[in-house]
Symmetry: C2
Subunit: 296 residues, 2 copies
């Protein structure tokens, strides 16, 4: 089957154009460059990969960046002490603690210990509250905020439209719903939140003008669940076995991609759709944190 | 037309049974009674009415209560100084600043200055954030929390059901959606948030198993917008002119009541539905604040 590539939303391309903008803006700054610190606990391969990629991109746009590696055996209290050192450090604008954290450490407690003004990942409870209050100076979680940016740059209207979000996580589903429902030109949508307990899921998703899937299970969104002409945003990043692939697996999203593409007006591929936007938003948030701190 | 009263959800009766429970529990406490302080700014008649009613009910269940009356001319800074005095006062468990506040005072700033552990109205930004994080020790705004309690006591199942909320306010719409979508036996619903910018509103509301209207405009919900057998929760409190009424007006909700009643399985009347539950929840929150502070 030939894929109609005109329907694909190219997250890599959009992320690149954001990096160019950030690079230009950072080059113009007087004084030191924005600095983001990544705290990684243990040696989880995915965490190692993500953190080193984020650092590389930060450096590539002219920001400063460091990775702090802490042992798997660290306690919650010790980790929070470390976070607070960077809270106090005037030379650090953004702090990201890479999830997942080892068992026994409350991710909520750690995220909530980050200075809200340096919380470039947007998981601190104060930033969640400010999101509810529609405060534009707050930091929203990177993935839903990156999706908003993608919709904006692809000129996909949200006002008055029906957006259905599958998934109610703190990281994607709930902030996505809050961002899209707020009084804002990039919001103003009718928003439905669905999840594992939802009855009649296909009946609901089939109404979506924009369908966002963030459930983390391959082939969750099948062709019978998508309205003709819908925009589909696939947040899932799932490994499936593939003996033909060099590594023995390949990465797919939540959407039964080949079956759904013929129906949609636009769709994000996996990989190369939402993923790059999450990192691009992190970089935007780093510059935003720098500017907020330097405008005081 | 004879009204089928078996369909009416009697908020006054449910509130009364909550007051009986609270009265019994407070009578058993050792030491001083829970204490809630109401701060009223200016002489707005509705605010005077609500605050004195809340105080009367607090006293009737055995709590202590005071009304602090501040002049219309107070500045935001002065009001916040006053709030902080009660934050520090060990004998005060709950603080409520009655809205609306005079022009020029940011309600968000004032609500955010209340100690989150004394924030019985649930409008502090930290409590909004904890609601997103699904922390059960937080205080949720009284009206949506009171609606949850009403649904629970009327044995109306929410898990898997489709709830449509009309209105996206900080006080009702958004916290209602967050409470109903969370992983909890009184949540687990598929939730749709609609508002003034929503397209095809009747088409969406007609799918609701439970329809919550919190838009504040009479006759917003008409018969063509309601599914046969739905539960309708009417949060609106609107004055409409009525030359036959003694005061020249009467209070109605958002729902075109007489036309909608024949369709529903259950409905809250206005007055006497959601309204009493808002006050009952405030009293529950006062006892909860007392217990949280005394269990430390």
């Amino acid at each position: 089957m030939d894929l109609d590539t005109s329907k694909l939303i190219d997250g890599n391309r959009v992320a690149e154009s954001i990096y160019e903008e950030l690079r230009a803006e950072i080059a113009e700054l007087s004084g030191r460059a924005p600095r983001v610190v990544f705290i990684r606990v243990g040696e989880d391969p995915a965490s190692r990969f993500y953190v080193s990629k984020k650092k590389k991109i930060a450096l590539s746009i002219g920001a400063e960046s460091d990775i702090v590696i802490l042992p798997e055996t660290i306690t919650e209290e010790e980790l929070i002490v470390k976070v607070k050192e960077f809270n106090k450090d005037d030379g650090t604008d953004g702090i990201l603690v890479q999830a997942p954290l080892p068992k026994g450490i409350s991710e909520a407690n750690v995220f909530n210990s980050i200075d809200p003004k340096k919380d470039v990942d947007g998981f601190n409870v104060l930033n969640s509250g400010l999101l509810v209050q529609e405060d534009l100076e707050s930091f929203a979680p990177c993935t839903p905020q990156g999706i908003l940016e993608l919709l904006k740059r692809e000129k996909i209207e949200t006002t008055g439209k029906h957006v259905v979000v599958i998934g109610r996580s703190l990281i994607v589903g709930k902030p996505m719903a809050l961002l899209l429902a707020r009084k804002h030109p990039q919001g103003n949508a009718t928003v439905t939140i669905c999840h594992s307990r939802s009855e009649n899921l296909p009946e609901i998703t089939k109404q979506a003008d924009i369908l966002v899937s963030a459930i983390g299970r391959p082939a969750t969104v099948t062709a019978d669940m998508v309205k003709e002409g819908a925009v589909v945003i696939d947040v899932g990043i799932n490994r499936v076995d593939d003996p033909e692939a060099k590594k023995g697996y390949r990465i797919v999203g939540d959407v039964d991609f080949e079956a759904v593409v013929p129906l949609v007006s636009k769709i994000t591929p996996v990989p190369g759709g939402v993923g790059p936007m999450t990192v691009a938003t992190l970089m935007q948030n780093t510059l935003k944190a720098y500017k907020l701190r330097h405008s005081r």
